[in-house]
């Protein structure tokens, strides 16, 4: 007796189907799954960083990250061999910002991405605003010619995103639900309440970058509930000692899965930093078609040699 909701309800996101989760355009093109995870993670963090540079509200950035993630999913989704991660990230942000009350011009978007790609690291999660500005502004100067080429690519990629997603640009987010649930749980009298809310939001932001694609597999109410559950544990706020999550339409199994997913992010990010961090391992994550092809080729040679 599942009600068929309004397609664009704020409670419901389109979810990836099993077929879409089991394969992807990149994997069909021979990109190893772990490389795909790394690139997608780096691209999602890049979108987040660019959105912050452009001073977009987090809800806009989050929508762009979800759109970016959806694009790569499924056999009919985009392939890393065909589309550059950077430009897909830029186009998602441009597209979502255009629909929002905070539109950004192509030039603003491209300038932000030019700056970010001039940074020595492609893992922008923790070190974005602590790392030093490149000393040579030439590194991120966008010449008129480059701008025009990149703008054309931006528009072209935008149309590809729209086509792959069937023009479905709707993204429902768990942030407001999260506040609403906290109010329902009556925790705002608690002295730790704001710490709890902040922590829950932090989890929701982290989940955007998850290699388990949590925003593509779970609905916003479940995400909000899991974030609250975990945050309350961490901050030490006592929540009702019964199955309160069921009030928010999340069952124990789903809650457990999401909590484990959220908890696993820390080690995943550490692993990524080990592999791709500044001065470590293999340098920057391949974010363009050429770089991904080179990386795939390099691995093939290594495997053949070893």
């Amino acid at each position: 007796m599942a009600p068929t909701p309004n397609q664009n309800s704020q409670l419901v996101n389109p979810l990836a189907t099993t077929a879409q989760l089991s394969s992807s355009g990149s994997q069909l093109d021979g990109v190893p799954a772990d490389l795909e995870d790394s690139v997608r993670f780096a691209g999602a963090s890049l979108t987040q960083a660019a959105g912050m540079l452009l001073r977009l509200p987090q809800e806009i950035i989050a929508q762009a990250v979800v759109l970016f993630t959806r694009f790569w999913v499924g056999p009919e989704g985009g392939s890393l061999i065909e589309y550059g991660t950077e430009i897909v990230s830029a186009s998602s942000l441009y597209l979502i910002a255009k629909l929002s009350p905070y539109p950004k011009s192509p030039r603003q978007i491209l300038a932000a991405y030019a700056y970010l790609s001039s940074l020595p690291t492609s893992l922008l999660t923790s070190s974005l605003f602590s790392s030093k500005t490149p000393e040579n502004p030439d590194a991120y100067y966008l010449s008129e010619g480059t701008y025009l080429t990149q703008r054309a690519a931006l528009m072209k990629t935008e149309s590809h995103i729209l086509r792959v997603l069937g023009f479905n640009t709707h993204v429902a987010l768990p942030y407001t639900l999260c506040i609403n649930y906290l109010q329902t749980l009556d925790v705002f009298q608690h002295p730790q309440a704001s710490a709890l809310a902040k922590r829950a939001f932090a989890h929701l932001n982290t989940a955007l970058l998850s290699p388990q694609l949590l925003y593509l597999t779970h609905q916003p109410p479940a995400l909000a509930t899991a974030a609250i559950y975990l945050a309350a544990r961490e901050v030490g706020v006592q929540l009702p000692d019964n199955e309160w999550w069921e009030v928010f339409d999340t069952d124990r199994e789903e809650l457990g899965f999401l909590v484990v997913g959220l908890l696993s992010m820390e080690s995943f990010v550490k692993g990524e930093e080990e592999r791709w961090g500044e001065g470590k391992g293999r340098g920057k994550v391949p974010m363009t078609v050429e770089a991904v092809e080179a990386e795939v080729e390099r691995r093939r040679i290594l495997e053949g040699g070893g």
């Binding site: 397609q7 389109p14 629909l99």
Partner: protein, 464 residues
């Protein structure tokens, strides 16, 4: 819920064990309590049943604590089954790539004009007839036009009986240039404008009521979902042959909020349906702009001609003031502060100030005139909301709204049907009058076969 084997509920497990031990000790006492509690519960349920208004959510809230108590204290009680609770589960929509427009076979153009290039088409696989709307791509410097994106977004959100159904979006070959993106929508036989042009008489009062109810229910739905249509007019209102009206063309639609987002463009709504505050250049507006258009459509349905046919913005404003009176600080506080109002020079003669709507529509009942006057209030605050409009006494008085099934049908212009012309001879032309040659005309066949006809009391049945 199932036994506390989960690692996320350690404390609950302990609690349950403790409760069990306690239970063994105090079984008799508890049984007594339980009886009393059940009585209370029954009482509570009776109360709940007496409240028909209580929603599902409220009921859940009332029921949940009861179940919780059962869980923690009386797990093993035979007569209290541990029912699994039903959680809300949505069917998650999916996404997939656009199909190609070649899946559709174009039949004919419907109308090229205000609402883009629309053609009638048949889906090759299913044989279903749909309307294909080719999106207008004007400003390609900004990529895919935001108006088109908004149209798709808002139409997708608006699943309503009186809003046209957007099935999918399909693309042509040259997507990179954005030149061929098509919306696949359900096909409706008429639009209200073309239909009215072909009608000899305006709709009957009962039909107008039905149309208005359908229209305002669609507008109510949109406003409830924070969508402003911003281009309500008769050519954007489609109708099928079953008397059902559907709102179409969301090319101007956008989401709004309360308070309304700042700096919205005032260049919306076709001139004849544009509210006075838009003409006066406001950039913060909301639902009342749609309600003004509904008022204009109401007037148009009554007379079969657009109500306020201004030649330009100034003329439109003049026509509005002519019909609805001159705004004053009393009737519309603050209108003088609107951007374009400064250059306005209004006559101060008192006799031109009143509204002449009542006298312009002499055949409208008092309630009808009151509704029209309130929809066409100059002050946006005074216009009723769509929900208020639906509750208006005009729709309750006689003649009652006509059932949609009883609506007359018309030949569909969009479906390329033609009105069957009754061949009537044209007037005689100048020149030689044709002569009847009496010798060659034989009238004898006219009454042939008369004797074969059955004759009855009031009418005759021809049997040939």
């Amino acid at each position: 819920m199932a036994g506390g084997a989960s690692r996320w509920a350690n404390d609950k497990e302990d609690e349950v064990l403790e409760a069990q031990r306690k239970k063994e000790k105090e079984e008799k006492k508890r049984a007594k309590l339980e009886k009393q509690r059940k009585l209370e519960e029954a009482e509570a349920r009776r109360k709940q049943a007496a409240e028909p208004e209580s929603t599902q959510g409220l009921q859940n809230e009332v029921e949940r604590p009861v179940k919780r108590r059962r869980l923690s204290n009386e797990r093993d009680d035979g007569d209290v089954p541990d029912q699994p609770r039903r959680l809300m589960r949505f069917v998650a929509p999916e996404w997939g790539p656009c199909r190609h427009v070649d899946n559709f076979e174009r039949l004919n153009h419907i109308e090229e004009g205000s609402y883009g290039w629309v053609s009638r088409a048949r889906e090759t696989a299913t044989g279903e007839v749909v309307a294909l709307k080719k999106l207008k791509m004007d400003n390609l410097n900004d990529g895919f036009p935001v108006t088109a994106l908004r149209e798709i977004q808002t139409l997708k959100e608006s699943r309503h009986r009186h809003v046209v159904d957007l099935r999918e979006v399909v693309v042509g070959d040259t997507l990179d240039e954005f030149s061929s993106v098509f919306l696949v929508m359900e096909f409706l036989e008429h639009d209200l404008k073309t239909l009215q042009e072909d009608m000899a008489e305006p709709f009957l009062p009962s039909e107008i009521k039905t149309l208005l109810i359908q229209l305002s229910s669609a507008v109510e739905f949109l406003h409830d979902h924070w969508i402003l249509h911003r281009d309500l007019k008769t050519s954007n209102i489609l109708m099928n042959n079953r008397g059902e009206l559907k709102l179409a063309d969301f090319g101007m639609a956008r989401y709004f909020g309360d308070p309304s987002p700042p700096k919205m463009t005032q260049l919306v709504v076709t001139l004849w349906y544009r509210a006075p505050e838009l003409l006066l250049g406001t950039t913060t507006y909301g639902k009342p702009v749609d309600m003004w258009s509904v008022g204009c459509i109401f007037g148009e349905l009554l007379t079969k001609a657009p109500l306020l046919q201004g030649k330009n913005e100034v003329d439109e404003l003049a026509k509005i003031f002519e019909l609805c009176g001159i705004p004053t600080e009393d009737s519309w506080p603050g209108f003088k502060r609107l951007p374009n109002a400064k250059s306005l020079r209004l006559p101060r003669t008192p006799q031109t100030q009143g509204s002449i709507i009542r006298s312009k529509f002499p055949f409208l009942t008092g309630a009808g005139a009151a509704l029209l006057t309130s929809l066409l209030s100059l002050n946006p605050e005074r216009r009723p909301s769509a929900a208020e409009m639906l509750a208006h006494p005009y729709f309750k008085e006689d003649p009652r709204p006509k059932a949609t099934a009883m609506f007359p049908t018309f030949p569909s212009k969009a479906g390329q049907e033609k009105r069957r012309r009754v061949a009537s001879p044209s007037a005689p032309q100048r020149g030689q009058a044709p002569k009847i040659d009496a010798g060659e005309v034989d009238f004898s066949g006219i009454f042939a076969g008369r004797d074969l006809e059955e004759s009855g009391a009031g009418f005759q049945l021809k049997l040939v």
